[in-house]
Symmetry: C2
Subunit: 233 residues, 2 copies
């Protein structure tokens, strides 16, 4: 990163911390909660490693904008597609061994059916890795992913955050599968459907999806706004 070189050339160090963002982008597919990793190559500490997409925040952009920009530049995800919320700011003094950099981490979500996930799955420059089987990661990125997974698990039971992991329309089986993968446990189908109905989380669109030698499933979308906090599982 240019900032690091700059301070090394300049014998006078900055007096204050500078700021980066890193984004934990999740998607649920192939039966796992997966996170997007990118190549990190900053010798001597992290040569040829995996890490999160991220970068320094410029003086003319907000942290949110920086997260979306680096997701595009490093993660190869088109801007604006992903749900994105601020997660936590990581500020351990030695989290970047080269310079003092504080990082605002973002939690982002994409439905597996989105063209962004479909494209990036075929892109050799990035890796969609199960959150439970991560390789060694650069910086404090393993800690960030752990924090993000906890946030996602925590919020999925009382908000409609699962919206970010599903396409515009879906079946109740799709929805339940996302919940089961994120929570890491089976959920009773009847109780789940009853609660989704009572909480007015989703609404039926009237259509059916046919996809195999079996009864077709009704198609739903999320209700416009979440009416109130819900408890779904």
């Amino acid at each position: 990163m240019s900032f690091g070189r700059k301070t090394k050339k300049n014998p006078k160090h900055l007096r204050f911390a500078v700021l980066a963002t890193d984004t934990i982008l999740f998607s649920v597919f192939d039966g796992a909660l997966r996170v997007l990793l990118v190549r990190v190559n900053t010798p001597p500490h992290f040569a040829d490693s995996w890490g999160l997409p991220g970068g320094l925040i410029g003086t003319k952009e907000t942290a949110d904008e920086s997260a979306r920009r680096t997701l595009e530049e490093k993660g190869r995800i088109a801007r604006g597609g992903a749900y994105c919320e601020q997660l936590y700011t990581f500020s351990a003094v030695n989290r970047d061994p080269r310079n003092r950099v504080v990082s605002v981490a973002y939690l982002a979500l994409l439905p597996k059916e989105s063209s962004e996930v479909e494209k990036s799955r075929r892109d050799p420059r990035v890796l969609w890795c199960p959150a439970s089987k991560l390789p060694r990661l650069a910086y404090d990125h393993a800690e960030m992913i752990k924090t993000a997974a906890l946030r996602l698990r925590g919020k999925i039971t009382y908000t409609d955050i699962a919206r970010g992991l599903l396409p515009k329309t879906f079946t109740l089986a799709d929805l339940q599968h996302v919940y089961e993968v994120v929570l890491g446990r089976k959920i009773d189908k009847r109780n789940f459907r009853r609660k989704a109905r009572e909480a007015a989380l989703v609404k039926a669109l009237g259509g059916k999806r046919r996809d195999g030698a079996h009864r077709p499933a009704a198609v739903f979308s999320f209700a416009r706004i979440m009416p109130h906090d819900i408890t779904l599982v």
Copy 2:
């Protein structure tokens, strides 16, 4: 702040954002949720205003350490006394009209019985202002306080965060009063006590507190660790 002056003198601007902390310190007394304000004097935008205690993060300290340091230097609150948790990072490009500064906001709590609150209430350099009757504040500090109050209200019903607003020992009436002020509504005494008991939030210490022409109240403390998430009101 020295950084602001420095960039004005230097025609070459920094390429990346620098980082500050601001701390929203709450306490409950005189029937209100109150926030600690300090004098801000940075003409031309904020001459003789009120704002939150805060300052730039040095290259050798974490955000948490910076929050505690500025709470001491600007807020006149001795270090380590207050409960302190990271709240949100505010990064609007023009939040500080002089320079690009991103701020990590912290939510902090003190019991009104603490010597820090008792001292600072008599200190003319700071003001304990009801969170519902704030004066015009510098920067985006009004937004920060609103966010902090929402976080506190949200967490008080399912965590033991009220611990930060109460002394080591207290009566159930004290505890309920803190809940009522933070939530802004009356709570039924019998239901409140039943739930505090069932959630194992507090434990009786065996003593009584005598303070007036009436029956003395049993004295409690918080249980060592919160056994699980609780729903108290």
